[in-house]
Subunit: 346 residues, 2 copies
Amino acid sequence: MDITVAVDAMGGDHGTHVTVPAVLKFLKAHPEANVVLVGLKDALEAELRARHAVTGPRLRIHHATEVVMMDESPQSALKNKKDSSMRVAINLVKTGEAHACVSAGNTGALMATARFVLKTLPGIERPAIAKLLPSMRGSTCVLDLGANVDCTPQQLLQFGIMGATLVSALNHQPNPSVGLLNIGSEEIKGNDVVKQTADLLRNSQLNFHGNVEGNDIYRGVVDVVVCDGFMGNIALKASEGIAKMLGQFLKEEFTKSWWRKLLALVAYPVLSSLKHRVDPRRYNGASLLGLRGIVVKSHGGADELAFYYALEQAAEEAKSGVLHKISDMMANAVVPTPQEKSVEPQ
Amino acid sequence: MDITVAVDAMGGDHGTHVTVPAVLKFLKAHPEANVVLVGLKDALEAELRARHAVTGPRLRIHHATEVVMMDESPQSALKNKKDSSMRVAINLVKTGEAHACVSAGNTGALMATARFVLKTLPGIERPAIAKLLPSMRGSTCVLDLGANVDCTPQQLLQFGIMGATLVSALNHQPNPSVGLLNIGSEEIKGNDVVKQTADLLRNSQLNFHGNVEGNDIYRGVVDVVVCDGFMGNIALKASEGIAKMLGQFLKEEFTKSWWRKLLALVAYPVLSSLKHRVDPRRYNGASLLGLRGIVVKSHGGADELAFYYALEQAAEEAKSGVLHKISDMMANAVVPTPQEKSVEPQ
């Protein structure tokens, strides 16, 4: 199956200097893929020229006159930047000219624009940001990672369905297990929203494991971890923070003396294979799930390799038909009413 | 200053097998300290005998007939175990026979019992669990780590005051900086509780830095990070999870072949100094802050060394007079009313 990916080529901290070489690498590695580079035509042509590349049937440029700034508010992006590279890339997904789009632009603006342009799938109240994180047993899909600070139990159930469908489609896993992020594995733990969500998940068609704790994400206890965007974001950022600190400490220990530096040289294959294994760039590419189109968010600071992985993520999602699968799941979903009604959908 | 620490010798996964040797090590290292071992007399005497140790003026046994189970509900512990080692140890703090107590028993029961027996300090609505976590610049005090799933802005402000006072007392730092855990550093981010808390912190006498994100805990951006117990617990557990996974990966990489195993032997001093630096046992000992007495919670699975560090934490807090300092801070605290009243104290 031929896949066309629309790329917001201006997004991210490094813009075309990262997006264009990543796209070239992606096209080389994936003969079935086509890319539409969306952004300022002159800048894109200059970047391609600098890399001795030319447009052709597999690589087109789609001119867009505006750029959403990394610190621009979602409202401003929506209202004032109707011809931004971000919005035009999403439009290409809406019109069917692209199967998916990828942007390293600012998350708030991307989510707001994608939601406005594409709308949510039937039965989904709010889109969620989902990501596959490394675990001791492979990977764990965690959602929401920051799109929704407050969620109702129904919305969290929808996240569970979307996450399970994503994992099932990408990893060809028939019935992925779903856990609910909580502060203890016992049923009595947590706040009202979490308790009501557990009831909903328990009575749903999902393979619900029960409550899981923060460390279970990396233990690989379940395939999907459901939480609101506040908790998901805190868990993700805290993990990134400690991983970075440990990496820094490892580096410091191996550079403390000339003897240790020599040792690091000898141990290079080991250290480099460890680095590869936990390289966050390999896990770049978060999915904006629940929309009527595939949108993948790359880290803003992504380099060429990281952006390449976000492109692969988008292509994989398009190929696996994850969108139709979520629609089907939602159409067949038994969404029970929570036992208590104290939390109203927003 | 002489310090007496009451130890719940039966608590934790390993009971006396861990608490007694840790206490012996602690008494040896701290000539100014005394310990009261609280628990089943026979078990304690047998354990001391096995370690060729005897009681004396610096090491007493206080008999307690009951033990709180690790999975026992706080309600059951409070109601049915009035002569538990945990409760009697806390009682010794209340009566002034000990300056502090340490328990590796179950967190819920410890918090409920400590709160019931000792009561909270004036101006403090709820105690919080605080811990110093390692950072790239030393350590960061994070609270609450799981005692309170839902918090009002006023309670979060109280946590800020308690955390700042703890850091100031332990690290002799005059005006520690305080950050509010959020999903973005911008003021507009977060839910209503977080926004109102930021207003309170901004108008308080604290050195408020503003919002911080999960990774900032380990970057050491601020001295104190304030959050509700749900978020704090998720951040802590997620961090522990990824740290354990990275440690496991490092081990796997260094044992993949005989050549790599040999390399690990040669690199032993480096790996071991890294291990020491990030050894979670060195950070064992969470403070139950806001009570009229010093209570330190050790990890349930703590080994001898880890429990030793929890004992040191308790002694440090007693010596630094953190309790009186929190009282003074609260007495002088300007606790402004939040601008919006939508969130009521619970």
